[in-house]
Amino acid sequence: MIFIMGLTPIIINTAGGIRSIPPIYIKSARMMGATRFLIFFRVMLPAATLAIVTGLRIGLANSWRVLIAAEMIVGAGVGLGYAIIQSRWSLDFEAAFVCVVIICVIGLVVEKLGFEVVEKRIMAQMGLGQD
């Protein structure tokens, strides 16, 4: 479940990213004598990097949510989702909210320090997003 929720946006975004590559890049690579293999790895994949990273971002967010929910339902015995359920049983509301805050903070840190930095760097390199 976690796997599917995470993988779908990655696949969709990668495919979309590759489809939106300007055909001129592929044409000029063919003119330079590139094989299909080289065009895929040296032109199409790098050109779609930004879309792939966006896919990873959504994929990770989805997986994170499903992971917490799964812990609650399955009752794994460990994990933040399980901890929330457990504090509900023991009427320990403070602990439940602390867990919720921890979940938010982890998500936020991954977003801000991980993906945003990577995305910004790619965009700067490609000359996107600056006027």
Binding site: K27, R30, G33, A47, T49
Partner: protein, 256 residues
């Protein structure tokens, strides 16, 4: 003779109309070594189609195109293309873009660097090695594209309105620089443009295509010395002649 087109026709099938649209009809054209040939014609006359077929991106519907007596079967670095829009890879630096084609050919790193450096010098962009395409002006990008294609050492250079998207001044300057480059390095060039003036400034031979179906209406040799003055008597005469021919090929009232 470098390039030979024999009875080349191109028909595009249009599903909506239910019949084919003849873009080019029976083109016969030979280009000699080191010749600078310009193709001019109104938009939709098939001049880009012809160039794409020579480049190998498309196949002619009928007829044959031969380079050094060998039938063209697909794109190849011996027919280098400079496109109208910027085709540089945005995540690579200027130098990496020029080296890219050589790397594909399996050229060793040190040789690649030598060649890239040399062509950067030739187009006058030394010092811009590590710039990214988005940091360059439109004219500079086209110069990099020219350097990249020249680095492949093609037998013929195919240029598809390479300066069409640039402003008038930059375009004139690049025309002049291209001419110098051609005179120094002896290249065979096929240059597509819709500007009569550009063609007169550059070409040994001007080929005028008619509109749908594209046929060769005029094949004009220019033996004027270079650099040419656009306002000299001979040039003005040729300009008038070409303009009159252009009017003939697409009379008013016809859809364009």
């Amino acid at each position: 003779m470098v390039l030979e087109c024999r009875n080349v026709s191109k028909v595009y099938v249009n599903r909506k109309l239910g019949h084919g649209v003849v873009a080019l009809n029976d083109i016969n054209l030979t280009i000699a070594k080191n010749e600078f040939v310009c193709i001019i014609g109104p938009s939709g006359c098939g001049k880009s189609s012809l160039l794409h077929m020579i480049a190998g991106f498309e196949r002619p519907t009928r007829g044959s195109i031969r380079l050094h007596n060998e039938e063209i079967s697909g794109p190849s670095p011996e027919r280098g293309v400079v496109f109208q829009e910027s085709s540089l890879l945005p995540w690579k630096s200027v130098r990496e873009n020029i080296e890219f084609g050589l790397a594909i050919q399996g050229c060793p790193r040190s040789e690649r660097q030598d060649i890239a450096g040399r062509y950067l010098n030739i187009v006058g962009l030394q010092g811009f090695d590590h710039a990214r395409p988005h940091e360059l002006s439109g004219g500079m990008k086209q110069k990099v594209a020219i350097a990249r294609t020249l680095a492949l050492d093609p037998a013929i250079l195919l240029m598809d309105e390479p300066f069409g998207a640039l402003d008038e001044q930059t375009r004139k300057r690049l025309d002049f620089e291209l001419l110098e480059l051609w005179q120094q390095r002896q290249k065979t060039i096929l240059f597509v443009t819709h500007s009569i003036e550009e063609a007169i400034l550059l070409a040994d031979r001007i080929i005028l295509l008619t509109v749908r179906p594209g046929r060769i209406q005029l094949d004009l040799e220019l033996s004027l010395p270079r650099p040419r003055n656009l306002f000299s008597k001979e040039v003005v005469e040729i300009r008038q002649q070409l303009l009159a021919e252009l009017m003939l090929c697409c009379p008013p009232g016809q859809p364009v």
